[in-house]
């Protein structure tokens, strides 16, 4: 029996939490929802042409990552809306935890694109090196190298 793509609803149900978490972490609470909609609309557009043996989670996280890059680019072109801590809690009630390290995230999105992708997909998307390679279209070794280079730069840019 030849494999076929699952109905989009099943794909959405299986991946929506991973994508939401990914975007919440990578772009922040204010823009996560818009990016989420854009991610799955883009996925839906491309879906029928996808190979049925594709790694769907890696595929959709790569799309989400592209939306996150767009969001960060858009943000750098306009003044950063700094939410009051209290306001943030009201809208998305993140609960207790460390504040979002904006400085670090800015540095992440200033990395060369492949390094940025490798870092974000590895640590936020929790993808394996082989999946990162698939998502950004390079060899596994290259993905590993990009990840290493990206982290090295971040360590210099944002001293712990």
């Amino acid at each position: 029996m030849s494999a076929t793509l699952p109905p989009f609803q099943s794909f959405l149900d299986e991946n929506r939490e991973a994508v939401w978490r990914f975007l919440y972490v990578s772009v922040g609470p204010a823009e996560a929802d818009d990016c989420f909609q854009e991610t799955f609309i883009a996925a839906l557009r491309a879906y029928p042409k996808l190979r049925s043996d594709s790694n769907l989670r890696a595929w959709v996280l790569a799309i989400a990552h592209n939306k996150a890059i767009d969001a960060h680019r858009g943000r750098s072109r306009r003044p950063v809306p700094v939410a009051e801590p209290g306001e943030l809690e009201k809208t998305s009630s993140p609960g207790p935890g460390a504040p979002r390290d904006e400085e670090l995230w800015e540095a992440v999105y200033e990395l060369p694109e492949r390094q940025c992708s490798a870092v974000v997909l590895r640590f936020v998307g929790d993808l394996a090196h082989s999946e990162i390679a698939m998502a950004i279209g390079c060899s596994e070794d290259a993905a590993r190298r990009s990840l290493h280079e990206g982290l090295t730069k971040l360590r210099k840019a944002v001293p712990a």
Binding site: T4, L5, P6, P7, F8, Q9, S10, L12, D13, R16, E17, V19, W20, R21, Y24, V25, G28, A32, D33, F36, Q37, F40, I41, L44, R45, Y47, P48, S92, S93, P94, G95, P96, G97, A98, P99, R100, D101, E102, L104, W105, V108, V119, V120, R122, F123, V124, A128, H129, S130, L147, H148, L151, T152, L154, R155, V158, A160
Partner: protein, 218 residues
């Protein structure tokens, strides 16, 4: 390949992982937010013409039915015991995988079925998409669809109207695999002499529908 690189353990990696996203450690919150965002997707997909098949549950006296519609019309209606996952997988393979639960798009179907089940509607006006039906079955089901409310025909008569007078058995098979029961009224086809014959949804339901329509005495 699962060697943990030493640098993955450092503070930057940790900050990125959970970093600043307090609710990444709050699974309930993530689940609720993701579910809410996903539920909004169908409407945008519809407005961008990306929703090839919309489906939704529909309440009925038989229990919860599942209705699925394309842009052309109602393509599938299932009885409660049919497995929605399996039905949707077949729709994905045969029509399109762009399938989302979208109750709004099924509003007219829900309304007409409600009216039918309460006895205030005698004919369905919702358009039908015959995408799941082959050529011969299309003729047979077309003949069944032309039987007026409260009337019945025999299998042989329906086969004749479908252009194959000696094909009553084939006609029976086509009726038995009707993807849109109730709305395409295959229940109005009986054996010669009035025996019920068969029904994919079970003979009790066939009898119930015919009694509702006054074609059989309760």
């Amino acid at each position: 390949m699962s060697t943990v690189d030493s640098h993955e353990m450092d503070s930057i990696a940790r900050a990125l992982r959970g970093g600043g996203s307090a609710d990444a450690s709050e699974p309930g919150q993530t689940r609720a937010n993701a579910a809410r965002a996903a539920a909004r997707l169908a409407e945008q997909a519809d407005s961008e013409d990306l929703l090839d098949i919309a489906y939704a549950p529909v309440d009925s006296p038989f229990g919860t039915l599942m209705a699925a519609a394309t842009g052309r019309g109602l393509v599938r209606l299932t009885f409660p015991e049919e497995h929605t996952d399996a039905v949707l997988e077949r729709l994905a393979a045969r029509v399109s995988p762009r399938i989302l639960e979208a109750p709004r798009r099924l509003d007219p179907v829900r309304r007409e079925l409600d009216e039918y089940f309460t006895g205030t509607r005698r004919a369905f006006e919702i358009p039908i998409d015959w995408a799941l039906v082959g050529t011969f079955a299309r003729r047979v089901l077309g003949a069944a669809a032309a039987i007026p409310y409260g009337n019945v025909l025999t299998y042989t008569q329906v086969a004749g109207k479908a252009g194959s007078p000696r094909g009553s058995r084939a006609a029976g098979n086509a009726l038995g695999s009707n993807p849109i029961p109730i709305v395409v009224p295959c229940h109005r086809v009986l054996r010669l002499g009035g025996a019920l014959g068969g029904y994919a949804g079970g003979l009790d339901r066939k009898r119930w529908l015919l009694e509702l329509e006054g074609a059989l005495r309760a």
